[in-house]
């Protein structure tokens, strides 16, 4: 059975329910700015709105044809040729297989090659050192720390901002492509 990882366009029929479940999962939302939708209807409205939103390009991450997570380029700014990267892997089994790294690689490829972006940024809660290290190994550089930038469970938390320029991506993408070749 092929377990290849790919990013595919989101469809309501195929992905709405699983995305809703992940967005409501506190283990996932604890790493996010928002706490997830209050209802399925609210979630559907969000999905339909982003489908019309030219500043929001979201994909489902699938492994062997099964949805395991989602990835996106958001806040796309055409004038300045930049966007913010966003991702989570909802299925723990896929995390053990490295699906996050592959999905991040494929999304960065899409952003830099298909969308011709110059810069992609991301923000991570400062305590999430594993995610920060992953982004750095994918080529991102630290831009700085926003102090007490988000309120999480009643506590202010710092947020780390990283970014990746197109020219930096060209330098590291071949190595990453070789490392991840078997998986996508």
């Amino acid at each position: 059975m092929s377990q290849k990882i790919e990013i595919v366009p989101i469809t309501i029929e195929r992905h709405a329910q699983v995305l809703f479940d992940w967005r409501r999962n506190v283990e996932i939302s604890r790493h996010m700015y928002s706490e997830g939708p209050q209802s399925f209807d609210e979630h559907l409205r969000w999905l339909k709105s982003i489908a019309q939103d030219v500043t929001h390009k979201r994909f489902a991450v699938e492994q062997g044809g099964k949805p395991v997570g989602t990835t996106a380029l958001v806040n796309v700014n055409e004038k300045h040729s930049r966007a913010d990267f966003d991702m989570y892997i909802g299925e723990a089994s896929a995390r053990i297989r490295g699906a996050g790294a592959v999905a991040e690689f494929l999304t960065l490829e899409y952003g830099f090659h298909r969308m011709k972006l110059h810069k992609i940024s991301c923000e991570v809660f400062a305590g999430n050192s594993v995610a920060i290290r992953l982004h750095e190994r994918m080529g991102f550089s630290l831009e700085g720390v926003f102090r007490e930038h988000a309120l999480f469970e009643g506590e202010w938390v710092d947020v780390t901002r990283l970014s990746l320029l197109s020219e930096d991506w060209q330098k590291c993408r071949e190595k990453l492509k070789r490392l991840l070749a078997a998986m996508h």
């Binding site: 377990q3 053990i96 490295g98 699906a99 790294a101 490392l179 998986m183």
Partner: protein
């Protein structure tokens, strides 16, 4: 088998800039080991090179190994017969 997996895991942790534990025990929780997603991807790919099979591609139903012991167990279960 177990020895090969532990050696590759130690290398993956080192590559990821994570200090490996002095002793690997079966109850280590993989997602709390400090290894990031790229580390897991490389670990599974390197184990496939070393062992000539990837148990995760042989499964009918994806199984989530939460601990090191379960991870090793999956490799042992799907090892080709000699």
């Amino acid at each position: 088998m177990r020895e090969k997996i532990l050696i590759k895991l130690g290398q993956a942790l080192e590559d990821a800039g994570v200090k490996a534990p002095e002793f690997f025990t079966d109850d280590i929780v993989l997602l709390q080991s400090g290894l990031d997603s790229l580390g897991f991807a490389i670990l599974v790919a390197q184990l496939e090179n070393e062992l000539d099979y990837d148990p995760f591609t042989l499964m009918e139903e994806a199984v989530y190994p939460s601990t090191l012991g379960e991870f090793v167990g999956i490799y042992e279960k799907y090892a080709p017969e000699a």
